[in-house]
Symmetry: C2
DNA sequence: TATATTTGCAACCGAATAGTTTCATAATTA
DNA sequence: TAATTATGAAACTATTCGGTTGCAAATATA
């Protein structure tokens, strides 16, 4: 059973859940109200998100509030870094090219 | 058939392929040599990556060179932006807290 | 032209995935 | 205490996924 952050964000419902609880902690019931799916299905998504430590939970009476472990999201950013270097280089090359073109011939 | 960039990068082999061809265009055969899998399996991965426009191909005789569409990678970065705002806020809050602690009491 | 090389695609298989239904547990409320 | 509410987990299903094997097409080479 593969369980990493990239597999976790592959599902569109999970991405929506992540975006939702990024702003404020929510209970599974409250989260489910935002989607066309059952509470149980949301519960399963939350379990997957918990397993890769993307969310944390806080029990309050019989309710459980789920919120995003924002630090974990940085791992995606970190993976992107290797490509960021490339696209910034390409951009600056394009930039150089454009400014060369714009330079009026004397 | 779901086919978006997030589903594309969910697979570790595909992430490795992406990293590989980010540096230089490569043929399917050459790519496959880097993994413990068959050429056909790599071919399937390349098809998935092509379908969501993450790679482009250039035919050269009977060989096909695959390379990364680096711009497409920015979509992940764009999705991360909504969270970046949050984690930067948290960081600056922590920063403020730390500097408050460090401030010598008069 | 005959052979070898590079490649994509279809068929198949076992495992994983997302979702539903049902049930058990724990906390709250009447 | 009895009923209600909030939740997780188990069992089941249809679909998708990643991989392999086998084959066909196109290009290059002998």
């Amino acid at each position: 059973m593969r369980r990493d952050i990239f597999q976790a964000i592959a599902d569109p419902t999970r991405r929506a859940i992540i975006a939702l609880i990024a702003l404020q902690a929510m209970t599974p019931n409250a989260i489910a109200e935002n989607f066309h799916t059952t509470r149980q299905s949301v519960s399963k998504h939350l379990r997957i998100l918990s397993e890769c430590e993307l969310v944390k939970q806080e029990q309050q009476g019989r309710e459980i509030y789920y919120s995003l472990e924002i630090d974990k999201m940085k791992e995606i950013d970190k993976w992107l870094n290797q490509f960021r270097e490339i696209w910034e280089t390409r951009f600056s090359q394009l930039d150089t090219l454009l400014s060369t073109i714009k330079t009026p011939k004397k």
